[in-house]
């Protein structure tokens, strides 16, 4: 149990303690042996041994599970690598030249970018709007936040399966809804143009709640006085939103844009599930970057080539994050 002492007592004791040490130190200055003693004391005081024992293994794990693999991916991209064949020659930039001509990868990149931009914008704008609206009905807001959060805790695979049935072109309720208002049925997952919107829809549905909650936290932290003051100054709600709320939310908005970008650029599970062509029910093969990496690495076993694709993915993610950082910083 922690000794029960008042804070002033603690501070006084601490001060007394350090005073004592400083007096002792003065009397041994200049003495080599004493300086060594000082060093050992400082280790004890800074608990360097403990730091080593505690942080060492954890940091080692980080190196093994994160740092080494990232570096190794880059290294692999310069080789032709098959896990069970012995011949693994170094081929320089060959994988990268191949990437430039790889139509499938190009399509995947374009698809992924389109999807990411759409999903990020729609999700964040919608989440922000809802979060702002919820502040006007604060008493019941937790209920709404809870309901909106349920899709967030649902894993991607069952969520996609649920929507796959809703999207079914022959029996699904979405098409039923369309036909009952006289609109033609849509081939949600079969039509090459519509499927992008279908996947965006599922992704927005899934992640909306998370951002509503995050924005909610930020909005609640805006001091009421600021808003009241501007209201007294005659600002309309819209003006209050633009000139008070949004500027105060800048850091959180930056945070959410980065997180949303990373999540959506790496989309894989919903695409895998929604486009899996059970032969009885075909779906359009919507390519995304991670899908291509997966196929090249674990179906075709071209691991060096997939490594190059992974490096490209990494560069894209880093670039997108960097762009967002600078964009948001500049506006200040």
């Amino acid at each position: 149990m922690i000794p029960k002492k008042h804070v002033p007592d603690l501070i006084r004791d601490g001060n007394r303690f350090s005073d004592k040490i400083m007096r002792e130190q003065e009397s041994v200055r200049g003495n080599l042996a004493a300086r060594f003693q000082e060093f050992r004391d400082s280790i004890k005081r800074d608990h360097l041994l403990w730091v080593l024992i505690a942080l060492g293994p954890v940091f080692a794990l980080f190196c093994i599970i994160r740092v080494y693999p990232i570096l190794e991916t880059i290294r692999l991209s310069f080789y032709r690598y098959h896990p069970t064949q012995r011949n693994r020659p170094f081929i320089g930039f060959d994988n990268y030249w191949r990437l430039l001509e790889d139509e499938a990868f190009r399509t995947a990149l374009i698809n992924t970018l389109q999807f990411c931009v759409m999903a990020v914008i729609i999700t964040l704008v919608l989440a922000f709007a809802i979060a702002v609206l919820l502040r006007s009905i604060e008493k019941v807001a937790p209920v709404y936040e809870l309901l909106l959060y349920i899709p967030v805790v649902t894993p991607w695979v069952p969520a996609s399966v649920i929507w796959k049935w809703i999207f079914d072109p022959v029996h699904g309720i979405l098409n039923y809804g369309l036909t009952s208002v006289g609109l033609p049925k849509l081939a949600w997952l079969q039509d090459e143009h519509v499927i992008l919107y279908a996947i965006v829809l599922v992704s927005v549905w899934k992640m909306l709640g998370y951002f509503v909650v995050v924005y909610g936290v930020g909005l609640r932290n805006i001091p009421d006085e600021l808003l009241e003051a501007s209201e007294l100054d005659g600002a309309t709600p819209w003006q209050r939103l633009i000139y008070v709320v949004i500027p105060m939310m800048k850091p959180i908005i930056l945070f959410t844009v980065i997180i949303a970008t990373i999540i959506f650029f790496n989309v894989f599970a919903p695409v895998y599930v929604l486009t899996a062509s059970a032969q009885g029910a075909p779906a359009y093969d919507f390519k995304v970057v991670i899908g291509e990496i997966y196929q090249n690495a674990f179906v075709f076993y071209r691991m060096g080539y997939a490594g190059a694709q992974s490096v490209v993915l990494l560069l894209f993610v880093l670039t997108l994050v960097f762009i967002q950082f600078t964009l948001f910083r500049e506006k200040r």
Binding site: I2, L10, P69, V143, W205, V273, G280, F298
Partner: protein
């Protein structure tokens, strides 16, 4: 925030619609799981099953060995959660409360890996596991998920708010650092730990691409993998698939229902610091 009438009204309307849209698909999958096959394919679709049946649940639990998949997911998620809580709180504690040479650099390295998603370096991870012939084992399934960068960052935030004096006082009383870690730090960061624990558990549970790559036999499938594979089969039947989806969602929903306050609080603490 905005007290004007029209805004409050808009708020009620819009938010209610969005909340309904969020929840309806779950209702629909449950209904589908309880309908018999002819009813599933009926047109116009029935909302409620006229003759509800549990046959799809029997099928997916019995024939498809889904219970085993759930067990696998549980083992993996619990192991990962425990490991992450331990490593994150320990590392977070060190970074929060100790000065040492290289602290900034080490923390920066760890943080830098946060934005890099697993998929970028999944190939070498696979090759490591493949090389030591540990494919298709619980260890290999948990292996990449024993640490979480976000966890370290998060616990550091949480622990920084513990007053230094408490630690000093304990030291003066002769406690060693490990005792302080266990008795002081962990005790005082309970709610942070719970939030992180839930997050780590759900990440491990929902993970899809790693089991997809590492598992070679059906008895080691996780729930996610089992469901994804099942619905990719040759012949697609939405009755059992819906039952499988319902079963897959239940554990996470239960965790969410029990621990929602901690989850929300966890987001608050992490969301504050951009």
């Amino acid at each position: 925030m905005f007290r004007e009438r029209p805004i409050v009204l808009t708020a009620y309307v819009v938010c209610t619609i969005m909340a309904l849209l969020a929840v309806t698909p779950f209702f629909w999958v449950l209904m589908t799981a309880l309908k018999s096959n002819p009813e599933i394919n009926a047109w116009p679709p029935h909302v409620f099953p006229i003759q509800p049946t549990l046959e799809h649940f029997h099928r997916i639990l019995g024939e498809e060995n889904f219970l085993r998949y759930i067990l696998n997911s549980l083992i993996i998620a619990l192991s990962s959660m425990t490991a992450i809580l331990f490593t994150s709180s320990l590392a977070g504690f060190i970074f929060a409360k100790y000065k040492f040479p290289g602290r900034g650099v080490l923390f920066a390295i760890i943080l830098a890996t946060a934005i890099i998603p697993l998929e970028v370096y999944i190939i070498p991870l696979y090759l490591m596991v493949f090389g030591v012939k540990m494919m298709n084992s619980y260890l290999s399934l948990v292996f990449p998920f024993v640490i979480m960068t976000f966890g370290v960052f998060f616990m550091r935030q949480v622990i920084m708010s513990i007053p230094d004096e408490l630690l000093e006082a304990a030291r003066i009383d002769g406690a060693n650092e490990f005792w302080i870690y266990v008795r002081v730090v962990l005790a005082l960061s309970k709610s942070g730990l719970m939030a992180l624990g839930v997050f780590a558990f759900s990440e491990a549970w929902a993970n899809f691409i790693w089991p997809l790559v590492v598992v070679t036999t059906k008895d080691m499938y996780t729930t996610e993998l089992g469901l994804a594979t099942y619905q990719r089969q040759f012949y697609i039947e939405y009755g059992p698939i819906s039952a499988g989806a319902v079963i897959s969602i239940m554990p996470m929903l239960i965790v969410f229902a029990l621990l929602r306050r901690h989850i929300m609080k966890g987001i608050a603490t992490s969301g504050l610091r951009g």
